[in-house]
Every structure is written in C-alpha cells, then in structure tokens.
C-alpha cells in the first residue's frame, strides 16, 4: 500500500513538472508558434531544399544520379529566354493595369456620387470566384478566329479584319492579360477599398475648404494615404505574374505557336512533366525563385518599405 502511495505521488509530481515545463514563460511562446514553424518546415523548407537538390540530379525511377551543374548549363537556351521575356512583359502589363485600374475604380466606387456601388462591388468581385480554367474556356470561344466569333464581330464594327487571336504574339499576350485583369480586378479593388476606408474624412474636408478639386484631392490625399496598400498590391501582382501558368495553359494546352504563350512556370511544367526531366524543371524553378526574390527585394527597397521606423 505504502509503495503504491509513493509511486502515485511520484507520477503526479512528474506530471506537474512536465506541465510546469510547458507552461514556463520561456517555453510557452515556442509551443504557440510551433504549428506555424512545423508547417513551414514541412510544407515550405523541405520542398525548397529537396527541389534545390533535385536541380543537380537526373531523376528517373530507380536511377537518380547527380549530374553537377549540367541542368543549369542547359537553362540558357532560346526557349528559356522566350519564356522569360513573355513572363516579363506579362508582369509589367498586369502590374500596371492591375494597380492603376482598381485604384481608380475603388476611388470611384467609394465616392458618394456613385449609386448602387454595392452592386458594382459585388459584380466586380464575382470573376475572382470563377476558376481561371472555366473562364478561359469561355474566353477561348469568344476569341475564336472565325468571322462569327464574338471578338471578331466586335472588331468588325470598327472595320478591322477578323483576327487570329490565339496565333499572334501581340494578340496572344492581350488575351492572357485580359483574362488576368478580368479575374483579379475585383480582388484588387477590394484591397484599395479597404485602404480607402482608413483615410480620414477630415483630410478631404480640410482640402475642400482650401478649394481643392477632385484631381488635387486624389493626387495629394488619396494617393499618399494608399501607399502601403499600393506597395502590397504591386508586390503580390508581380509575384503572381511570375508564377502565372493557367492563363497561358487554358489558351494553349499543348504549347503555343512560336511559344508566344510560354511562361517560366509553363516551361517548368513542360520540361519537368511533359519531357520527364524533373531535375531540369527543378533547376528552372530555382532560377525563377531567385528572380522573384531579387525583384521583390528591389521593389521593396525602392518603395522604402524596408526602411525601419518611418
């Protein structure tokens, strides 16, 4: 009996000490951040590192061999540069369009002169809920090359000959940017609306008393007050642009004529899966990561976001 009593006290003591350990001021913060740390390690760092290792290998079932930097040596080929230039043009266009247009639209929707602004807000947001692939199929039909397709009927009103939308470099880029704009406009408007909600009304009232017009108010109050949101929108649009894939895939599932729609991610997919060259695909992925990293840092530095305590 007495022995048993002793062991119970022992176990309750050890239980308490475990509990004390987890609840001590030093440990508890780590326990609480551990879900994030663990998911970061498992779902981000581990794939990152193994992707990096894969980029130095040739990977075939049962025959994985290290090949040094030969995957990287192969990257600098015309197809890669074509993909890079396509992606860069796409990033520039989407970033400009998807920053300026939503900002103007959000300001307009926020103005008290626009009626039914809730209806517009909702309808502009709906495309974001649609799958790019589904929307793309509709776009593909709208921009068919026959004279009777919707887009060619529209340009026909202006006396323009029917276009082969999917087969020209410029029209192809136009299709991708249009699809992206259609889809992401509403989301970006939402960001800007949230930013506008934080602009104090008093500033506008004060400006009005000083006799400022709409343009002046926009230029000197709205724009500076929206800067943090603008930086955020530009950053995610650039990153999304470099990662773009569906917008191209949906128009040209089997590869585009003259690679007009090939993006870097599309190139990774093509080489990694279509050509079963996972090592080479991983190497392109590493290069893409570096590009995004450098551009993001540059952009944050230029916009002053990295400066402390401003």
């Amino acid at each position: 009996m007495s022995e048993r009593a002793v062991s119970t006290t022992d176990s309750s003591r050890s239980k308490r000490s475990i509990k004390d350990f987890f609840l001590s001021r030093k440990v508890v913060p780590y326990v609480f951040v551990s879900p994030f740390i663990i998911s970061f390690l498992l779902l981000f760092l581990y794939p990152l590192i193994s992707g990096f290792i894969m980029s130095f290998q040739t990977i075939l079932p049962g025959q994985t061999t290290f090949v040094g930097a030969s995957n990287y040596e192969r990257i600098l080929n015309p197809t890669f540069f074509k993909a890079l230039s396509n992606t860069t043009v796409y990033v520039i266009l989407t970033t400009v369009i998807l920053t300026i247009l939503p900002m103007i639209l959000a300001t307009m929707l926020n103005s008290k002169f626009v009626r039914f602004s809730n209806v517009f807000r909702a309808s502009l947001f709906i495309p974001a809920l649609t799958s790019t692939i589904v929307a793309g199929v509709v776009f593909r039909l709208m921009f068919g090359e026959s004279e009777a397709s919707l887009a060619n009927t529209v340009v026909g009103f202006f006396g323009i000959e029917p276009l082969e939308w999917k087969f020209g470099a410029a029209t192809g880029m136009f299709l991708m940017v249009l699809l992206a704009t259609w889809k992401w406009l509403g989301v970006n408007i939402l960001y800007f609306m949230a930013g506008l909600a934080n602009v104090p009304r008093e500033l506008y009232e004060a400006a009005e008393m000083d006799g400022a017009g709409i343009i002046h108010k926009f230029r000197h109050i709205t724009l500076p007050m929206l800067k943090p949101i603008t930086v955020y929108v530009v950053t995610i649009t650039i990153i999304a642009g470099f990662r773009m894939y569906e917008e191209s895939y949906v128009f040209w599932p089997e590869g585009s004529p003259g690679n007009i729609g090939l993006t870097i991610v599309g190139y990774i997919y093509q080489q990694g899966f279509r050509m079963n060259d996972l090592g080479f695909g991983a190497a392109i992925g590493v290069v893409l990561m570096l590009i995004i990293f450098i551009i993001s840092i540059l952009q944050l530095a230029l916009s002053g976001t990295l400066k402390k305590g401003e």
């Binding site: 879900p35 025959q63 080929n77 087969f167 040209w252 004529p257 003259g258 279509r274 079963n276």
Partner: protein
C-alpha cells in the same frame, strides 16, 4: 480552472493542426489514389461477388472504358472462379499522364493497369521502366499482329504496352463536294492527282481541298513515313531535317500558298472545336488522318453522315506506300500492382485475343492491330461506322495492309512533338518566317542539345 481549460483547448488545437500536417505531408500519394478526385468518369465494372479481385485502371479517354467493360463481362463469364472487378477511372490527358509519372517515380499510388498515349510513352521507358513486360503473352501471337505496333512500346526487347489500334492513315473525302467539283475520288492515286483534284475543288466549289495542322503532327508524320522517312532512324539518330522531310514540309507549304488548295486548320488542329464546325459545314473536301479519327466524325460532325468515304492515302511514287501507322495507345501493367499475374493475363485477354480485337472495332471503331480478324464475319456486322462511312472500310484496309510502315519511337519523341507543334509548323506554314529547311535544322539542333 478556467485558465487550465484554456490551455487544454489550445494544446488540443495544436495537435489537430499537427495531425493534419502529418497527414498532408506523409500520406499524400496514397490518399490521391484512394479517391478519384478530378476524374472525368469513374465506373466500377464487373463482379459484385466478394471474392472478386479488384483491379484499378486509368485512362485518358473516357471512351476507352467501353473496351474494358466488354472485356470484363466476357472474362467473368469465362472464368467464374477468378472474377474481376475493374475500377476504371478516366482523367484528362495531361492530368493522367502527370499523375502516373509521379506515382511511378515515387513508388506509390499507381493503378494496376493504365492506358498511355504514344506521345508520352517514351517518358515511361526512361531509366528502369516501372511497367511489367508482357513478352510471355505477346510472343505466341506476334505473327497475327501488325508487329511494329509492339515495337513502339518496347525497350531492350521487352514489350511493355499492348496496342489499341493500327492507326492506319487514310484519306477521308467528302463525296458531295468531290462530285460537285467533278472529281472521281477513285481516280486519285498519287499526290499529283490529289493536287489536280484539289484545283478542281477550289475552282468549282466554295470548299478548300484539305486542311493542314499546325498544333499537332498528323498532317506531316504519315506523309514522311509513307516515303520511308521518320524523325529518327532505326538506331535512334535524329533525322528530322533529312531531304525527304524538308521536301515534304515544303510540299505542304506550297499546297497552301502556291497551289492554294489547302488551308491551315481552323483552330490549329483537327481536334479543335473550330475545325469540327468548319468541316461539318463542308469547309474542306478531304482530310488526311489515321483511321482512329473516324470517331470524331461520328461524334462531332453529324451532318457529314453518309457523305464521307474512306480511301487509301495518295502515294508519292507509282509503287509507293498508300498508308502509314500513326498514333497509338499502349496499355500496360504497372509494377505497383498487387496482382501482377491476374492483371497481365486479363490485359492480354482484353487486347491480344480475337474477341478482344473484334471488340476494339465493334466498340471503338479502331482498326484492330490483329490483322487476322480483319476478314472475320463479325467485323462486317453493321455498326455506326459503316452507317457513316459506307461498308468498304475493311476492303480499303486490307488493300493497304502490307503498306503500313510503323514509326520509330525514341525517348526524345515528346521533344520532337513540342518542336514541331510550337516552332516548325507555325514558322513555315503559318507565319512563313522560316523556310522548311531552316526550321527543321533548328529543330534538329534543339533536339540534339537537349
């Protein structure tokens, strides 16, 4: 006490999250194979009995499931002591081939039996093929088959894939348009005849003679194969820019721009919605495609029923070949199956038996790779293909049986397809920014450097 329950709650949340992470990280592959997420069609075929062995089958074309529906019911009748339950899942083309690649690469999640399209098959032969050799079943019947159809799915003398069809390339003529143009279809014997007929068609009707693909290679590959050329020779050396290939591509260009009897296929290829509509409305008088293309006519171009006839391809020389084998689907057993013997035997039963080959025609309208069944009475039974194209399909096939040379396949075939469909056809046929020779030389360099 209140504080303590808060801690309990937080910790339990933590464990739930961790458990979720662990599952996502570790069991991803296995999970994916259990539920058929993203499948276009799922069908469980066959025996309901408990001792039925379940086999999983993946395909990229939901129509192919019908072949196995037929085979499973015959199997279960013939071997009641070894019933099979086939779980057939159809995924989109890219999706299925990628899933299979990753499953075989990682060693888990692959089905027992799988359809692999010719254009992707070389990917699965790289390294150590993760498929099971079928030689024991293929060798006894080899001489009854168009043998080259096994070679394209083989490596180092081992046959991994069983063919689904011959893919004999033929000419489909729209008789109504040809009659209006005053051309007797049977008088077209050579490509010169074809061009002359084309000129009459363009002169006398609103239609063009034919269409040429730019986003796929079916307008090109059969034409060079007919002349004994290919993208690779028997030793796997790249021959894509040889004289025959350059001249043939130049011939195609001249059909469009000099002779003006051909157009670039609306939509870029013969599998595009634009083309189906164009052809259905009588846009072109003919098209050169393999026999498996029949199904697209019956399914997507209903207005041409009774108007289309099938004839051999025009030949290049007096004694030249009038067809070429093109395309294909190899069905294989993966090394991840738990029932390798049963899976192999069933697959052989479905694909290598006479009944199986007759079913390939009856169910799918494919030209069965076992040529000995071509003359069987069962083949002549009426079906929707005879109703659409007339009753002489197999007379045409039998007349060209000896002329169906097959293609040479190497690990680099996916690369060739990519080069042709993105650069070569676009630059030579569409934008005319390169000559046939320049474009093919450039493609050859790209293939060699990869």
């Amino acid at each position: 006490m209140k504080k303590r329950s808060l801690y309990v709650m937080l910790f339990s949340m933590l464990f739930v999250i961790l458990a979720a992470c662990g599952k996502g990280g570790g069991g991803g592959g296995g999970d994916g194979s259990e539920d058929a997420e993203g499948a276009e069609a799922v069908e469980v075929i066959g025996s309901e009995s408990k001792d039925a062995t379940e086999l999983k089958f993946w395909t990229f074309n939901a129509l192919h499931i019908d072949i196995y529906k037929d085979a499973v019911s015959r199997w279960n009748e013939e071997f009641p002591d070894r019933p099979i339950k086939l779980k057939a899942e159809a995924y989109p083309y890219d999706n299925m081939h990628n899933n299979l690649l990753l499953a075989l690469q990682s060693g888990t999640g692959a089905p027992d039996i799988v359809d692999i399209e010719l254009g992707r098959f070389p990917n699965y032969l790289q390294g150590e093929p993760q498929l099971l050799p079928m030689n024991e079943y293929v060798e006894p019947v080899k001489d009854k088959f168009i043998e080259s159809r096994f070679d394209i799915y083989s490596k180092d003398g081992k046959n991994y894939g069983l063919p689904t069809h011959v893919g004999a390339t033929v000419a489909y003529y729209n008789k109504e348009i040809m009659d209006a143009a005053g051309v007797d279809i049977d008088s077209i014997q050579t490509w010169d005849d074809y061009v002359a007929a084309g000129k009459k068609v363009v002169e006398n009707t609103d239609a063009t003679m034919t269409t040429l693909e730019t986003n796929d290679y079916w307008s090109y590959w059969p034409l060079i194969k007919q002349q004994g050329s290919d993208f690779f020779d028997e030793n796997g050396e790249v021959t894509i820019s040889n004289e025959t290939n350059v001249e043939t591509l130049e011939f195609m260009r001249s059909l469009i721009y000099d002779e003006k009897i051909a157009e670039i296929t609306p939509g870029g290829g013969h599998h595009e919605e634009e083309y189906y509509g164009f052809m259905n409305d009588g846009g072109a008088a003919s098209v050169i495609m393999p026999l498996w293309y029949m199904g697209r006519f019956t399914d997507y171009m209903p207005d041409l029923k009774g108007k289309m006839v099938i004839r051999p391809m025009p030949k290049w020389t007096e004694d030249g070949n009038r067809s070429a084998g093109a395309g294909g689907t190899g069905t294989a057993v993966t090394n991840q199956t738990e029932h390798p013997e049963l899976a192999k035997e069933f697959l052989a039963y479905a694909k290598l038996s006479e009944e199986g080959n007759i079913a390939l025609w009856r169910v799918m309208g494919f030209d069965p790779p076992m040529w000995t069944v071509w003359e069987k009475p069962e083949i002549r039974e009426d079906n929707k293909y005879y109703q659409y194209f007339g009753t002489d399909i197999f007379d045409t096939l039998l007349s060209i049986r000896e002329e169906i040379d097959s293609i040479n396949i190497t690990e680099k075939n996916p690369l060739v397809q990519e080069q042709l469909s993105t650069n070569v056809f676009n630059n030579v046929l569409r934008s005319q920014s390169q000559s046939a020779e320049e474009a093919l030389k450039e493609a050859e360099a790209a293939i060699k450097n990869n």
